[in-house]
Symmetry: none
Subunit: 144 residues, 4 copies
């Protein structure tokens, strides 16, 4: 489970702050380490279609403990994971989903952001992650 | 669409406050008037199974602009709406979902709460509604 | 996450042992505390239809941290949770699903058993739970 | 149906043994010849997202009686089976799923493995298959 109510709220807050700073309208989802929704917000005028994408990006990052965009690199035609998005009731494999890993190398949850370019989605997700941990899997074995 | 980001956040805040006051752990969902997720939070130790129930209660209240429990009274065996929960990818027809209607009689969204008895779920939902409007449909025609 | 590979295997083993002792053919599922599948087995000649029921019973017990049959008592027509099985992509609310709670009051997973009478399903589930904890929520607050 | 409880357990055991030998964390699923789940295990720290992928790889291998990766070669853009993964509630068409065929040329089940590179997934699946049969369809007609 790991990510707490307070931390999830703070992650959302920082992500919204970052979104305002760069002038974008985002959907932001935070999941616990089991992939279950912990906190969500949709900023005014964010696309309705981004609700599901934000949640699925976070799920993708959580389920494989890596940035959603990394899965995307491995799943284009001709790559080893081509078609992986057909699993788990749908994955989203472009950037904007990041795992949240604590200093001990423990996966504690994930964030997913959708609403603008994938670069901006990623930027906002990173701002959220910074509150609670890192999104790069540490060198030593990570755990769930 | 109607319910704004700020109002949705405030609704969640008041609902969490009420939950703490009565000592319960809740999942709380706020939808806009189109039935699309606006804001969500899961308090620590709230049941994972309540995530979907909170969202579905809010959806039920929003889709029919009436308390989820009112739909429930009409959908028990022998009643006119028996089986309605099979529509709309699943409804939840017991208390805890409330529409949010403004003073002009306009539906502006809905709240759904799950995590304790249906009485407490309703109480917390009502605390959320109070922030932004009423949950009884006014006498004059309501609109979406 | 909580329930470990070794413990999950041992739970399955004891549940199979109990099934053989009372002469029944079971499907047995063990989930972690996030509701994700950890271990599963289907004994020879167990009903194919019991695969999904065993998993859904475990999910039901995990998602609400109580025996699936307790949810069932609250969800018959006229009871407060009537229709709850329409949530969470389907719940199974008759006996055979049990949460697994450790001595500290922490939910660590759940077991679901299907294949015979609900009494026998429950008996086998209980044998599995005994390996790793209790299934009654302790008096002091439980946590996830 | 064919693959027995004992054999399924032994397949899982050997696959786990192989996983430990090469230092990977896997989800391993064994299906009977009807495509129905027989046995499943998730090793500690294996990705949660691999649960569904392991099962879908096994399903893919079972439904078409050939390695999941072989289907993948036929389903890339421009190939005759392009888009086949949209059938059967989702297929996974990269390596890690293998049919299990006995010496008589009879399909008796399938194994699916997910958790590492597709090469390692395949290696572990092969270790499982070796317990009970072969995964190459024999020259003479195979049967289900």
């Amino acid at each position: 489970m790991h990510v707490s109510f307070e931390v999830a709220q703070e992650i959302i807050e920082k992500a919204v702050e970052k979104s305002k700073e760069i002038g974008v309208k985002m959907c932001i989802a935070v999941l616990d380490s089991g992939g279950n929704l912990k906190s969500f917000t949709r900023m005014d005028d964010a696309w309705v279609g981004s609700i599901d994408i934000a949640i699925k990006k976070a799920k993708t990052a959580c389920y494989f403990a890596m940035p959603s965009g990394e899965i995307g690199k491995l799943s284009v035609p001709g790559s080893p994971l081509y078609g992986i998005e057909h699993s788990n009731d749908g994955l989203i494999t472009f950037p904007g989903g990041l795992p949240i890993v604590d200093e001990e190398g423990m996966l504690i949850g994930a964030i997913g952001v959708s609403g603008d370019t994938v670069e901006n989605d990623h930027l906002v997700a990173q701002a959220g992650v910074n509150v609670a941990g890192v999104c790069d899997i540490p060198k030593h074995p990570w755990r769930t």
